[in-house]
Structure formats: C-alpha cells, structure tokens
C-alpha cells in the first residue's frame, strides 16, 4: 500500500542507530557506563541496548591502559557497546551527551558509529517506523514537534 511504502522510505532517512563502543571500566562498577546511561535518561532517551564485548583498536602506536597494564595492538580488552535508535533530530544531542559523559582524554575513550536504520517494528503492536521508535515521555515529547514537508 502506498502509505506503508512511504513510511518505509522515510524511515531510512529519519532513523539512525547511534552505536557507541566504549572502554569498559573496572568490573561490576562500570561507573562511566552508568553515568552515560544516567545522562541519557535525564535527557529523555529511554531505550538503550547494552552489550559486553571485546575489542582492540590501534591508536597509531600508543598503548591503551586497562587495569593498570598497557595493551598494544592485538590484545583484546573488555568493552561496552551501547546501541540507541533515535530520530534524526536527536542524533546530535545524543552524541554530545555521550561524549560529555564518557570523554576522559585518555586512549580508550572509544568511538561512536552512526548507522542508518531501515525500519523499526514494535513487536507488541506491530507498529512500524517513527511511531515504533517513539517512546512516551521521551525526548521527542520534550523537543518541539518537527514538521515534515512531504
């Protein structure tokens, strides 16, 4: 149906996944990821998927410090990956908030990847697209409504 086709087409432009791979600080008390999640919650981002991953990334010869030891190019270090799907307007505020909370200036602060999302489906209701991504009381309720010219 034409309506659905339009919606699917719009989603590709309107939804983005902000994928942050960050250094996992010590053990159970990963305090920096808790702070980031707190910060995101405060600004209205109420859905995140967090996974524990391993990774390494060469930083031009400099070593990353983890638990006191230096790690060079090819040794895995524990990391935290956060994936947040937001509307396009919310991408920059989310990035700014993550950087504000996570930046220490040391090697190992991590990277953020922006990935376009083709569609979002809410399993419970079958909603798709921007409506599925939207959460009641979240950031889109706080920001002024965006008027799209179609």
């Amino acid at each position: 149906m034409e309506g659905v086709a339009c919606l699917v087409g719009e989603c590709g432009l309107l939804l983005q996944a902000v994928c942050a791979v960050l250094s996992r600080t010590r053990g159970v008390r990963s305090n920096s990821s808790t702070e980031i999640l707190q910060g995101l919650l405060e600004m209205g981002i109420r859905g995140v998927t967090v996974s524990d991953v391993r990774g390494y990334g060469a930083q031009g010869g400099s070593t990353e410090r983890y638990e006191g030891s230096e790690f060079s190019e090819d040794t895995f270090i524990a990391k935290v990956k956060m994936e947040i799907v937001v509307c396009k307007e919310q991408v920059e505020p989310v990035i700014d908030k993550i950087i504000e909370k996570a930046r220490t200036g040391e090697i190992g602060d991590g990277k953020i990847f922006l990935i376009p999302v083709a569609d979002v489906v809410r399993v419970r209701t079958g909603e798709r697209g921007v409506h599925a991504e939207r959460m009641i009381g979240g950031l889109s309720d706080k920001l002024p409504p965006v008027i799209t010219i179609s």
Binding site: T25, N31, E67, G68, T104, D109
Partner: protein, 385 residues
C-alpha cells in the same frame, strides 16, 4: 596529659576524639613505637557505642577542617565527621567542652556521624600514596599510620604505596655518591639503582611495615618485583636519566588474598622489566596504576601542598572538587603547573581506568586521611570521573 584541643566558640575548629580506647591519654602522646595494647577492642567499643546511641544526631562539628598544625603538635588528633554525602559546609551547633561528660558525648557523637561514610566505603579498597612531609615528621607519620590502621579496622581496605626520596639521598651520600637531578628527576645509574632498591625496599618499606604492625594492624611489605606485581619498562627519557621506569603491566593477583585477609600491603615502587633489570618508578604513577588494577574506590595522594589552587598565590583558592574536563582545562590554562602536573595526570589516568575518585590531599595536616575519607569537607582536591 589530657588531649584537648582548645576550641573558641566563635571560630570553627575541628574537635573530635577517637573511640574511647584510642584517645586515652596514655597512647596518644607517645611515639609510634609504643604498641597500642587496646587496639583489638576499638572496633567492638565503637560498635557498642553506635548501637547504644543511635539517636545522636546533633552536629557539633565545625564546618572547616582547616587545622593549624603549628599550634602544639602534642595535642589530640582531631578529625571532623559529617554524615551528609554532599560537599556543603555545616555549622557547629555546640562547642566542645572540657568536662569529661561532654568529652565522652562528643566522642560518641563524632563516631556516630562517621557511620554513613564507614557504611559507604566498607569493603572498598583505598590506595594511599605516602610521601613528602608526612613521611619525614614523626608526628605526621604516626598519624598516617594510625589512620591506616583505623580505616582497616572499620572495614576499608587500604593499600599503602610509598616513595622515599630523602632517605635515598642520605644513603647515596654515605656510599659516596652525589645525588644528581635533571629537571627535578633523579639520574639513576647502576650504582644509584642499587642504593635506591636497597633503601626503598629494605629500609623504608620495612620500617613502614613495622610501624603498622606496632599500631595494631598487620602489614605485608612488597615491591614491584614480588609476584610480578609491577612490570616496568624504561621510560622514554631513560637515556638521560638511567634506570627510571614506567609501569608496563600490573598484576594485582597477589594483593587480593592479602587485603581479603585484613592485611595492609605496603608497596615500594621498584620493579623489574622483562629481563630482570630493576627500575625505579615514580610512586605517584605506580599508585595510580595499582589503584586501577585492584579496582580501588579511591586514590589518595599525600602531598606537601593543600591541593590544587585556582590561583597559585592565593592559598584560600583551594579547589575542593573538580572533574576530569575541568582539571584538564586548568592544566592547559597554566593554573596547574610544575610538580602538580604529573600528580594530576596520574589521577586522571586512574579515573579513566575506573577508580571512582582521586584526591590530592595535604599530608601536612594531621589525620588528613581520615578527614578526606570520613568527612564531607575533605582536606584537599577531589577529582571525580
């Protein structure tokens, strides 16, 4: 002599007393060599006091922890305690009186108010880097040692990391070697390295272990070589400075059973590299990496200044709390300079690796450790992540 600190009611002053046994007149004024025979009892006495007087909440403690160290060093060791977790000033409601009844009451009050802090940090590891004036003066040394034992008794897990510059210099002279420094860093050739290792690991370390034992704690003296606690690598300017090392790797496996069984590790920062060559590592740096490796809650650096000053010339401009971004700004803005920069950098590195707070505290203030850990106001600059 009765240990009382005169407290004029109009001037906020810090006046508290330990649990009854610890502040009894006989033990307080003696040098550290005298064992405190009542040391196993304070915990139960303190617990009993806490249990029997739960309603004591009147704050009789002053707001500022500033204590004038030059006024009669033989007096009691005051600590201030307040239960609120945020850093705000509190006005003292009652002044401390000299009468014994009020003394006992004030002691119990203070202990009761330290409860929230003790609860918050119970079981947590705290790394203390010990150096500077606090290491040279016997009174300050004994106050640091007693603080460590107290913290260990109430449930924190302290780890002591120490330097030892002045001792090294005096022994080098005895051996007939002139100590050399370049840009504030010691030039360490092979002979100097031998003397450094002997003095730091053999004398300074074991002296501290013995003092802790005498104060009632149990200490274990280690250096970086033990159980490969620290593996060193030559620092970038090793060509000019000799055997000065950086921390390549920390393996804290050996520390866990030690602190789990209630002992206090005392670590000398001499370590070997992969080939077994000994290096001297800066104690501040090593303390930061050890704190990261054990997942410490706090890192405390005892220094000879009151902390980070916003204006170098104004001692009243102490920065009490600051975050990483703020402190980096201060470094780039030139407000933090000289010897404070390596300390600040080591704090930032520790915070980036998960230590919750890193503090630069004034070692010249008696009981600076207790002030920092068990009170709101603290006694230096706390850097948070």
């Amino acid at each position: 002599p009765i240990q009382h600190f005169p407290c004029p009611p109009q001037a906020p002053a810090v006046n508290t007393y330990y649990a009854a046994n610890l502040s009894s007149a006989s033990t307080s004024s003696l040098p550290v060599g005298i064992p405190s025979s009542s040391s196993p009892r304070p915990t139960t006495a303190a617990a009993a006091m806490l249990l029997t007087k739960p309603q004591l909440s009147s704050s009789l403690l002053a707001s500022t922890p500033l204590f004038n160290p030059t006024s009669n060093p033989n007096h009691a060791k005051p600590i201030a305690a307040s239960p609120s977790p945020r850093r705000r000033l509190r006005i003292s409601a009652a002044s401390t009186a000299v009468s014994p009844g009020a003394t006992a009451l004030s002691r119990v009050d203070v202990l009761s108010e330290a409860l929230p802090f003790i609860q918050r940090f119970k079981g947590k590891t705290v790394v203390v880097k010990y150096g500077g004036a606090a290491m040279k003066s016997p009174e300050l040394q004994s106050s640091v040692i007693r603080d460590l034992v107290l913290l260990s008794c109430v449930g924190l897990r302290p780890i002591l990391v120490h330097g030892g510059g002045p001792e090294i210099n005096s022994w080098l002279l005895r051996v007939g070697v002139e100590p050399q420094f370049r840009n504030g860093l010691r030039v360490t050739d092979a002979l100097t390295m031998e003397v450094v290792e002997m003095v730091l690991v053999g004398k300074v370390n074991k002296n501290l272990v013995s003092l802790i034992n005498l104060a009632g704690g149990t200490a274990v003296g280690l250096c970086g070589k033990d159980a490969r606690l620290i593996t060193a690598r030559p620092s970038p300017n090793a060509a000019a400075l000799g055997f000065v090392g950086e921390v390549a790797r920390v393996d804290a496996t050996v520390l866990h059973p030690i602190i789990a069984s209630g002992h206090i590790p005392v670590i000398a920062t001499v370590a070997a590299d992969e080939t077994g060559q000994a290096y001297n590592i800066n104690a501040d740096t090593a303390a930061g990496e050890i704190a990261a490796a054990v997942g410490a809650e706090k890192l405390l650096l005892l220094t000879d200044v009151s902390g980070i000053l916003a204006d170098r010339n104004d001692p009243g401009s102490l920065v009490k709390e600051i975050d990483i971004a703020g402190v980096r700004q201060m470094v780039s803005g030139g407000q933090v300079a000289g010897g404070m920069i390596p300390k600040v950098e080591c704090c930032v590195r520790a915070l980036a690796q998960g230590v919750h707070t890193a503090s630069i505290i004034d070692g010249r203030v008696p009981h600076s450790l207790l002030l920092e850990i068990l009170t709101d106001e603290g006694t230096g600059t706390m850097i948070t992540g």
